[in-house]
């Protein structure tokens, strides 16, 4: 009897242990499943993948940009070779123009009548590489949601919508390639659903060949090639003589430039602010004798322009941003 009780007790212990192991196994299985499903559903991770795709994918395609009534077709070729990015952008409609970018060095070839003007420029985030390298900057000011699947340029794409949490930025719609995550289409809209600007690939193909023969400008023997080195004066002002008061939340200064105003002995300053997707330039220029300062707001193309006068200086904010943002920036300088 005593022996039977011991055996029964032993069986119960063993059964409990098996139960505990089973429960533990189920718990780990569930937790890993939850983790996996969470990572695959996090839309911000998709944007990170899109950012990587724009840097590391080798591709060639044509996209169309539209702003108001102006439509342009643009050819783009991108490759990463030995960890260095090579980019060639070629405007196909209207006056010829090209961008050749290698690493951080960017040159623009702009045809103006009989001349091709070559200018060295600071590298910009141009479509489709429009996402910031640090996606975190977007999280506090945009809500991200996943939309439906659509075909863009013959490829299946996933719609992502970035909705602003305030009135200081526009809505951004992105269609990302389902396979590569490369942005295939972008639409920027205001809160009333008016399209501000859009860009969309009409054709795109990946490049397997690592040959960089394409990385050179189209040379037109009938044109004069001029290297424009007129952009002087950058970095002249060591100490800023103004203060930037409260700017719209989420925007940070990303660039500062100074140049001499043509026809005068004064310098003009440009501060560039961005929230990761939108840009605002803030210009500070002294007013010459005889000039009347401008105040108010006007829209030119996709840009809102807001002017204020302050202590002898004309302050102008320019950007493809809502009027409230533009106004706020123009009122932000204090001497």
């Amino acid at each position: 009897m005593h022996l039977q009780m011991q055996i029964s007790l032993f069986r119960q212990v063993i059964t409990n242990k098996i139960m505990i192991h089973r429960l533990l196994f189920i718990f780990f299985l569930l937790s890993s499943f939850i983790s996996l499903s969470h990572s695959s559903d996090d839309p911000w991770l998709i944007i990170e993948k899109a950012t990587k795709a724009t840097k590391f994918l080798n591709y060639k395609g044509v996209f169309r940009t539209q702003h108001n009534k102006e439509i342009k077709s643009i050819e783009i070729t991108h490759a990463t070779n030995n960890e260095q990015e090579f980019l060639r952008i070629n405007v196909l409609d209207g006056s010829p123009g090209e961008v050749l970018s290698q690493g951080k060095t960017t040159y623009v070839y702009n045809t103006i009548e009989d001349n091709v003007i070559i200018q060295k420029r600071k590298k910009q985030r141009l479509f489709p590489a429009i996402f910031p390298s640090n996606v975190e900057v977007l999280k506090d000011f945009y809500r991200l949601s996943i939309g439906k699947t659509e075909r863009i340029a013959g490829r299946l794409s996933q719609l992502l919508v970035l909705s602003p949490i305030d009135d200081f930025r526009y809505f951004h719609y992105f269609w990302l390639d389902r396979k590569s995550f490369l942005p295939l289409k972008m639409v920027v809209m205001d809160k009333d659903k008016n399209i501000i600007e859009q860009a969309s690939f009409t054709q795109i193909n990946t490049i397997d060949n690592k040959n960089l023969d394409w990385f050179k400008p189209d040379v037109d023997p009938s044109k004069n090639y001029i290297f424009d080195d007129k952009i002087v004066g950058q970095g002249i002002v060591k100490n800023r003589f103004w203060k930037v008061k409260k700017i719209p939340p989420g925007y940070k200064e990303v660039d500062f430039r100074t140049k001499r105003m043509s026809g005068s002995n004064f310098l003009s300053h440009q501060l560039v602010f961005s929230d990761g997707l939108s840009y605002v330039s803030l210009f500070i220029k002294p007013i010459s004798r005889g000039q009347k300062p401008k105040v108010g707001h006007v829209k030119v193309g996709i840009n809102n322009i807001c002017a204020q006068y302050q202590d002898g200086y004309q302050i102008m904010a320019v950007g493809s941003v809502p009027t409230s943002t533009c106004n706020k920036f123009s009122e932000t300088i204090e001497f």
Binding site: I74, V219, F283, G296, C306, Y309, G312
Partner: protein, 148 residues
């Protein structure tokens, strides 16, 4: 011929081809093309340092520019490039000149009349500077130009 010159600057020709090309270019006066391809090659290889007489051109341009006399005087204005002159006589003369000028124009600067901004007030430079330094649109980025 142009293709040959381009190949020469890309180091894609052998020595006999180079000799032949040099002979042909001398005959055909292809000096402009030489300069053009040389410039483009230098830019692509990131060896272009701007024009040789850039400093002289800047100094000449500064000399030709007018200096603003009146307007809105601002303390600690570091944007104004002035030539400091410590000669006592010149300083006294300048002080008298400024006092005289201020007295003459006092009424003009007492109040500043601003006008409402309209589209025609927007200088092209302003839009160009914005697109050149703050644009995600390739078309605008390319089409802007400082060159005049």
């Amino acid at each position: 011929m142009n293709e040959k010159i381009s190949s020469l600057f890309d180091n894609e020709l052998n020595s006999s081809e180079i000799d032949k090309l040099l002979e042909q270019t001398n005959k055909q006066k292809k000096n402009n093309h030489w300069a053009r391809y040389q410039l483009i090659r230098d830019v692509i290889q990131n060896n272009h340092n701007g024009s040789n007489n850039l400093t002289k051109k800047i100094i000449d341009a500064i000399e030709k520019e007018p200096t603003q006399l009146g307007g809105f005087v601002k303390r600690n204005d570091e944007t104004r490039e002035s030539k400091m002159n410590y000669w006592p006589i010149a300083a006294s003369f300048a002080a008298l000149f400024v006092i005289g000028l201020t007295a003459l124009n006092f009424n003009e600067y007492k109040a500043v009349d601003s006008v409402i901004l309209v589209e025609s007030d927007i200088p092209t430079d302003l839009i160009n500077d914005h697109f050149a330094n703050a644009s995600s649109n390739a078309n605008f980025f390319i089409q802007t130009s400082y060159y005049k």
